[in-house]
């Protein structure tokens, strides 16, 4: 038997056996620890290096999301989201000749579009890093308009429902952008969707696609707020 094929058999059997044992025995350590240990063992068997995994884009999305979560955690601890809210509040209340130009909703519209305005190599980076900020901003907007969640009332209460609609609208619009915001690459993302098949230079249709995502963001806000309506969680 081919040597590479032997390694494949050993890796697959090891994976299935250890996973089966973990399910049956239910050890006290978490499944993540087992999976990481298993990954290291399989890497040793397969003589794979970290670079091989990154080059094969196997780790890329996971690392991107992890990086985003790490940034979100670090920003939260360092007070970054508090500063973000102060800046957004200042922008929302900025006046020109006595007239508020953007207001809280205008700034919110900008905030949810950030992932498409600044597409990262993987949309997960900004999605994970900024989503706590979007959530907090949604709460801030609701508070500014005098809408708070009263947990002693049912979620279907009109004020509570309005509060949930505001949060869901901002979050879902942000998620649409985050999902669509991978930077141009042969795999897809803004500017790359379908371009691999078309054979045109990467990024040729990026701005047109960003334009479509803008419209889709508005449609998503409409659908979530008027059709789906947030599911009560309390």
């Amino acid at each position: 038997m081919d040597k590479e094929l032997k390694k494949g058999y050993v890796s697959l059997i090891l994976f299935l056996v250890i996973l089966s044992i973990a399910i049956i025995v239910k050890p006290k350590i978490t499944i993540q620890v087992i999976l990481v240990a298993l990954a290291v063992i399989i890497m040793i068997i397969g003589q794979a290096k970290i670079q091989d995994l990154i080059a094969g884009l196997i780790l890329h999305p996971i690392m991107a999301m992890t990086a985003g979560f790490l940034i979100a955690g670090a920003m939260g601890l360092a007070g970054g989201f508090d500063v973000l809210l102060i800046l957004l509040r200042g922008w929302a209340e900025w006046e020109l000749g006595g007239i508020t130009i953007f207001g809280y909703i205008g700034v919110g519209v900008f905030l949810v579009n950030i992932p498409t305005i600044m597409p990262m190599p993987c949309g997960r980076i900004l999605a994970a890093a900024v989503i706590p900020g979007v959530y907090l901003y949604g709460i801030e907007v609701a508070a500014v308009y005098g809408i708070t969640y009263n947990s002693s009332l049912p979620a279907s209460d009109p004020t509570n429902l309005k509060y949930l609609i505001i949060l869901s609208t901002f979050l879902s619009a942000f998620i649409v952008n985050a999902a669509a915001s991978c930077g141009p690459s042969p795999l897809g993302g803004v500017g790359g969707i379908g371009e691999g098949n078309m054979g045109v230079p990467i990024g040729t249709s990026g701005k047109s696609q960003a334009c479509g995502i803008m419209i889709a963001t508005g449609v998503c806000a409409l659908v979530i707020a008027l059709v789906v309506k947030p599911l009560p969680y309390a």
């Binding site: 900008f110 609609i165 505001i166 609208t169 960003a210 334009c211 707020a225």
Partner: protein, 56 residues
């Protein structure tokens, strides 16, 4: 700036403004704010200027 780029910029600004109007409709009368249209226009310009981002 070439004509096609000017057209694209205008289209992106209009798309952003439409998005802003849709946000207003979604959030309802109580939260109505014409600033969302201005916000949408800024998004359109920002996407035109910065769109493209990092290549993989």
């Amino acid at each position: 700036m070439e004509l096609k780029n000017i057209i694209l910029l205008v289209v992106m600004i209009i798309a952003g403004m439409i998005m802003g109007i849709m946000f207003n409709i979604a959030l309802g009368k109580k939260l109505f704010d014409t600033g969302s249209i201005a916000g949408g226009a800024v998004v359109g310009v920002a996407m035109y200027v910065l769109g493209g981002g990092f290549s993989v």
